[in-house]
Amino acid sequence: MKAIPTLKISISGVRGVVGDSLTPEMVARFAQAFGTYVGGGRVVIGRDPRTSGEMVRQAVVAGLVSSGCRVSDLGVCPTPTVQLLVRQLGARGGIAITASHNPPEWNALKFVGGDGLFLGPARGRELLDIYHQGQYAKVPGSTQRSPERIEDAVERHVRAVVEGIGPLPKGGKGLVVAVDPGGGAACVAASRLVEAIGAKAVAIHTTADGRFPRPAEPIPENLGALGDAVRKNGADVGFAQDMDGDRLAVVDAQGQPIGEELTLVLAAEQVLAHTPGPVVANLATTDAVEAMASRYGAEVTRTRIGEAHVAEGMRRSGAVIGGEGNGGVLYPRVNFARDSLVGMALILHRLSETGRSVAELAAPYDGFRVVKLQRHCPVDRARVLIERAREAWADRSPDLRDGVKVRTSEGWYIVRPSNTEPIVRVIAEASTESAARALAERAEAEVETLLGLSSA
């Protein structure tokens, strides 16, 4: 673990390996820089249940309080709960302590502005500037305020989702829902949402002790236990979250994952069926979004990858719904954040309203198959790689907004460095699984070649 550089300081926050690069002194300085940036006042914090969460939380509290902030601590809760409560409480900002889908040795700070959105590129750069300059606000002890604990944050979140989207109509009351929060922050929220909206919940992986019962990413290969739970309980649908409850994956009544790319598609369909309007998705998300939106005459705008970019694009276009192919759904009417509770509520309404099964709802998008590959690549090498790919693939009319995206006769592929880990991702889409895999593997082989070139 030691030799690989693990610290990522970027506009999406600061992320590192505990015991190695992510130290409490750095966390305290970052929190102090953030307190300086928001100019004191109320700051909401929450964390996922990683083993390092309490240690990092203490450092965050020290940094925020010393810079004059009043800390409202939500305890263990999903990241979207922090974002929602920032707006509900009129706070100056928020810090979510979570490394979302990263393995258990990681942790991170994600910074939320007073509008409940992640800071994004412009504001993120300002915060980094303060952090690096090192001149933080320091208030005397006599004006420091003790942190307050908000006990009912998750309850408020569940209530906001149910009030915003509505309880299930009569016909939906019999739905049986299996949930798999993966031992993550959604342990405290997923079943409550299902029950509050009027369905019946069965849950697995509900011990939130920071020892991941399955890998954190809600991708098909990690959802075997959820599939079993669906079959055993005769559930109509299964839902799985990542560690901080912002991403959602769906399993059908046979226990088969439909792929996290379709979470946004199903949720958006429910919104467009009632309130047609612009849709926003990132560049690496399935084309099924356009296929679905065109049925409702809705425009789709594509943005760079990352919640901050998607949210920014949504604000610009006045989108009614947006999200990402990793299972993140943003529904601004309830919460301007990737919110798995919102995704669950929308999809449960879709099931209830149409009377169809998950498999039936997903069937129209069978011809959209996405394959995702990744390889380790240090940050500096990733930069070189993208430069070389842009040059080498210049004759393929590449989309250069984020990494390099190329359309082919079979579909598309995109090569880009991760915002959160020292890896390069290769994502491809085609009409069949095997065609998508072939496309992705071809692109990956080209990446290997480009990385192998001497730097002369």
Binding site: V18, G19, D20, R50, Q58, E105
Partner: protein
């Protein structure tokens, strides 16, 4: 800008200036690494910067693999008793002690409940300065902070150590000024357990400090008023973390904090004769009281760590310093105002004497003190020049245990750097006040700064 003091007694500074969360985290990491993990107790006094400092301490300790137990707001001696009780490897008390409210500090306690010794303090500083601590990986981290009640345990130990019934029979009325410090959670309860009628003042730790926390004649005014109005048998003036105390007698006369130790020495030696420990800067009354009982006095450098160490080494029956801090070794070998109260009230009860009578029975010596602020850059050169200036004096005994102490047959003067602030402290003592003042002025003139 107030300075940061990093020394063997811990790290001390002004919050909002030099005592930053980053620095506190690194110090706590160094201490956790020095202890090599294990359970570490953390408490604080109620000054408003306490929660911030405590969060930083907790983060630092946890990151090196310690299991943190939060004792909340409680006196430092309560934490010190709890360390061996809970099988902890050490403790951190977050307290500015007698310093003004804008200050805060970390005091480090080892596994036996005493402060780190001078050598151990230097070792800790080495770990801090080297900066390369070994951190715990994600699967070795404690995932939560536990809570324990150290105050109730402290009360149990005190109750077992003193004759509560004999004291209770006297039905003493005691005015106690907690200064809204951590003693508010302990001392009124202890006095009640001793059967006293308690007249508490400033016993709400959620309120700001109403006076400077340092017990002295100057900070005794409220206690005096309550002793007079409430016809109390005595008044107690306490610091913010339960280590130092000065007294007010039943006539509402405030006593110098220098008298707390001689009274305690008289009380302790009356029941059990044995060695007495104090620092070089404390009144010569200690020797006179000890001599009357045929006991010997061991003098140490200034600072609780030295006094505690010597109490253990010499099997002393009592120890303390001229700042009003007294250790009663039957409870523990560290300054503890609550234990001092048990000792003094027990003595008053068995002797059936009023406090003013006990004071009148002491020999008299006059003490004069002054603290001179000196910029940190000049502190030690000023002392060096003073040492130089007085090196050739005749008919004087010079003691260099801590700073410079010069003794004449009829008095002494001691010039030293404060452990906790950027100050030179001068203290002079003689048979009469004018000679003491003369010695003080003489030293002050020779101190260039």
């Amino acid at each position: 800008m107030e300075p940061l003091k990093i020394g063997i007694t811990g790290v001390r500074g002004v919050v909002g200036q030099t005592l930053t969360p980053d620095l506190v985290v690194r110090f706590a990491e160094a201490f956790g690494a020095y202890l090599d993990g294990g359970r570490v107790l953390v408490c604080r006094d109620p000054r408003p910067s306490g929660p911030m400092v405590q969060a930083a301490v907790t983060a630092g300790l946890m990151s090196v693999g310690c299991e943190v137990v939060d004792l909340g707001v409680c006196p430092t001696p309560s934490l010190q008793l709890a360390v061996p009780w809970l099988g902890a490897s050490g403790g951190v008390s977050i307290t500015g002690g007698h310093n003004p409210p804008e200050w805060n500090a970390l005091k480090f306690v080892r596994g036996d409940g005493l402060y780190l010794s001078a050598v151990q303090g230097e070792e800790l500083l080495d770990v801090f300065h080297q900066g390369a601590v070994e951190r715990a990986g994600w699967d070795r981290l404690a995932t939560a902070v536990a809570h324990e009640d150290a105050v109730s345990h402290h009360l149990e130990v005190l109750t077992a150590a003193f004759e509560t019934e004999a004291i209770g029979a006297r039905r003493l009325r005691v005015a106690v000024d907690c200064g809204n410090g951590s003693c508010a959670v302990l001392v009124p309860r202890w006095l009640t357990a001793l059967g006293c009628e308690v007249l508490p003042i400033n016993d709400d730790p959620s309120l700001p400090f109403p006076r400077l926390p340092e017990p002295s004649i100057a900070t005794a005014s409220q206690a005096r008023a309550v002793v007079r109005a409430g016809k109390a048998d005595l008044g107690l003036v306490l610091d913010a973390d339960g280590e130092r105390m000065s007294l007010v007698d039943e006539t509402a006369q405030p006593l110098s904090e220098e008298l707390t130790l001689p009274l305690a020495v008289e009380a302790a030696l009356s029941r059990n004769v044995g060695p007495v420990v104090t620092n070089v800067s404390t009144t010569g009354l200690v020797e006179r009281v000890a001599a009357a009982h045929g006991a010997r006095v061991v003098r140490t450098p200034v600072g609780q760590a030295y006094v505690s160490q010597a109490i253990v080494e010499h099997h002393a029956v009592v120890g303390g310093e001229g700042n009003g801090g007294v250790a009663v070794p039957t409870v523990h070998a560290t300054h503890d105002s609550a234990a001092t109260i048990g000792l003094l009230l027990g003595h008053m009860a068995s002797r059936k004497r009023a406090l003013s009578q006990l004071v009148a029975a002491l020999p008299t010596l006059a003490v004069r003190k002054i603290a001179i602020p000196v910029p940190p850059s000049l502190l030690y050169s000023a002392l060096a020049e003073f040492r130089e200036a007085v090196s050739a004096l005749e008919g004087v005994t010079a003691d260099h245990t801590d700073g410079v102490k010069l003794s004449w047959p009829d008095g002494w003067v001691h010039v030293r750097a404060s452990n906790t602030q950027s100050l030179v402290r001068i203290i002079a003592e003689a048979e009469d006040a004018s000679r003491a003042q003369e010695l003080l002025d003489w030293a002050r003139e020779r101190l260039k700064a």
